[in-house]
């Protein structure tokens, strides 16, 4: 079942569009990862999902009902969702009072509050700090306390902004496991942002990628500074970062002269070839070593060092067939259609 549905949603600050999402669904009870570079609009999207910001246009439905941003209504919606900041801030009171805050607001009686505080502190492993000052905890502990403070409210949805970006390896493992547990035991829907593809791939059932405020299938990293020059044949010679040669059809450009610019290779359209003796190439090829492979949804992300790093997204079948190994010499086939070219201004 879909919990959130976004359609043609836009957010602007000072006339700049920071978020522009055509369509997005958040499934109830699932963990969603939100991947993307800094400034891609991840935090803005979380704020909108937490009902802390209202979009300038577009539709947002929650639990099947269109969200009405009238004052009384939005408060009751907001009470079903908790957002945990990247650098959570604690009220300058005790650990206990921080957790009780949301409970008091919801008019929960004292005995229940006590029980809940003890429970959630136990869950995040901070029971010993119950009466300590909340703003004196370390970074990792603060992050865990922020989770406890959110959990105490038993929200429908837990939104976490980079929950593990600012904590050490040990706390990272603890927090990741906590999110898994919460999702499993209380069926809480979780949306978290991250830079870490592996975390996204292993923790979440769904991964969404944002770039420049828009949804994309994957972040296009294969973007290189590049010069090109015409050759005598029907191909132009492209030189990526001065080190990698590509020969692409001359149709891509208008002018008959050489020039400088950027070339972007679609990681879904370029192909990995492990058998170097394969049939003569029908398109430009570059050679390199496989340096990384990881699971990414239904595809395998393979990074090849061809002088520059090149990302190839392989389908599972293709991956099994080619069976590349780390350190292996492979070819990357670059068809003309995988390239897009912008001339330097």
């Amino acid at each position: 079942m879909s919990l959130y549905q976004l359609q043609h949603l836009q957010q602007r600050f000072a006339k700049k569009t920071v978020l522009d999402i055509d369509e997005l669904t958040i499934e109830q009870g699932c963990i969603h990862a939100l991947l993307g570079p800094n400034g891609a609009g991840k935090t803005t999207l979380l704020n909108i999902l937490a009902f802390l910001e209202s979009p300038v246009c577009g539709e947002l439905a929650f639990q099947g009902k269109r969200v009405d941003y009238a004052k009384g209504n939005i408060l009751s919606l907001r009470r079903q969702v908790v957002l945990v900041d990247q650098h959570p801030i604690m009220f300058s009171t005790t650990v206990r009072a921080n957790i009780e805050f949301g409970l008091k607001i919801r008019k929960i009686d004292g005995a229940t509050r006590n029980r809940v505080v003890d429970e959630v502190l136990e869950t995040v492993g901070l029971a010993r700090y119950k009466n300590a000052r909340a703003d004196a905890l370390s970074g990792g502990e603060t992050q865990r306390l922020a989770l406890a403070r959110a959990l105490a409210l038993e929200p429908q949805v837990l939104l976490c902004d980079e929950p593990t970006a600012s904590v050490d390896a040990e706390n990272q493992a603890v927090i990741t496991e906590l999110l898994r547990t919460i999702n499993r035991e209380q069926a809480t829907t979780i949306v978290f942002t991250t830079h870490d593809r592996l975390q996204a791939a292993t923790l979440a059932q769904h991964t969404l990628v944002l770039e420049n405020g828009q949804r994309v299938n994957t972040t296009y990293e294969n973007s290189y500074a590049c010069t090109f020059e015409p050759t005598s044949g029907d191909k132009d010679r492209y030189l990526l970062h001065g080190v990698v040669e590509l020969y692409l059809s001359a149709e891509n450009r208008k002018s008959g002269q050489g020039g400088r610019g950027r070339i972007t290779l679609n990681p879904e359209s370029i192909r990995l070839v492990t058998d170097l003796r394969e049939s003569p190439p029908v398109c430009s090829q570059v050679q390199g070593r496989v340096v990384m492979m990881m699971e990414e949804g239904h595809t395998i992300r393979v990074v090849v060092d061809v002088g520059v790093l090149m990302v190839v997204l392989m389908l599972a079948d293709d991956y099994r067939q080619q069976n590349p190994a780390i350190g292996q010499q492979v070819c990357v086939a670059v068809p003309d259609s995988a390239c897009s070219w912008t001339t330097a201004c």
């Binding site: 937490a50 802390l52 009470r79 969702v81 650098h87």
Partner: protein, 231 residues
């Protein structure tokens, strides 16, 4: 210099023995200044809070006007209030001129902008994440405001203290609206400025010592609180 050394000793004796005139002057100063500070806080703090948290487009302009009013010279305020309360003014019949009430009104006008501006600064300095956190935990507008006030409590106390420090050491308003009437509207500053070369030099020095101790003490408290708030 002997004369001054003697005066200093005499002044300390005056303070030590609790000279009646000295005590009266200090009492008048403190009661006028305290009243002015209480009223100004009651108006300035909510005003500052509202301005800091309003989203209206004219907000920057309002803050600039407030900051500008901070520079209002005491004598201009004195003259302004005089126009209203002098026997020929609108409130003339109330017979407020040369009274403690008049001084309170003038000092009130002097520090309302100060307390409001410092409250704005205090509230603005509270990390935006406090507001965001309170809201995502389910707080309504009023509960969120209380959270922010709690986080700004030290800085707001500092604003009040700063206002009090300003009024006990001001002289223009006390002189123009109080008139330096002995035992009634004579404050530490007016007594010091107007009496010292009319023979009450010892009293002037004694008042100087008391005033300096008071305002330095207040400033030390202010700094301690400021330090705490910026922790």
């Amino acid at each position: 210099m002997n004369f001054f050394v003697d005066s200093f000793f005499a002044a300390f004796r005056l303070i030590g023995t609790g000279d009646a005139e000295l005590l009266k002057i200090v009492e008048v100063t403190l009661s006028v200044s305290s009243l002015a500070t209480v009223f100004a806080s009651a108006v300035g703090i909510p005003m500052g809070f509202l301005i800091a948290h309003s989203q209206v487009p004219g907000k920057r302009a309002v803050i600039t006007v407030l900051n500008t009013l901070l520079a209002l010279p005491t004598v201009v305020i004195g003259l302004f209030v005089y126009v209203f309360i002098s026997r020929r003014g609108i409130f003339g019949p109330l017979d407020l001129l040369y009274s403690q009430e008049a001084m309170v009104i003038g000092q009130f006008i002097l520090i309302v902008p100060l307390i409001a501006a410092l409250t704005i600064a205090a509230v603005s300095r509270v990390d935006a994440r406090y507001q965001k956190t309170a809201r995502t935990l389910g707080a309504n507008g009023w509960q969120t405001a209380l959270v922010i006030l709690r986080e700004a409590r030290f800085a707001i106390s500092a604003a009040v203290i700063s206002g009090f420090g300003r009024v006990i050491s001001e002289i223009g308003i006390s002189m123009m609206l109080g008139g330096n009437i002995k035992g009634f509207t004579r404050t530490m500053t007016t007594a010091m400025a107007l009496e010292y070369d009319k023979g009450s030099f010892t009293l002037a020095v004694a008042l100087g010592v008391v005033l300096m101790t008071l305002s330095l003490g207040i400033n030390i408290i202010f700094n301690l609180i400021q330090g705490k708030s910026s922790r």
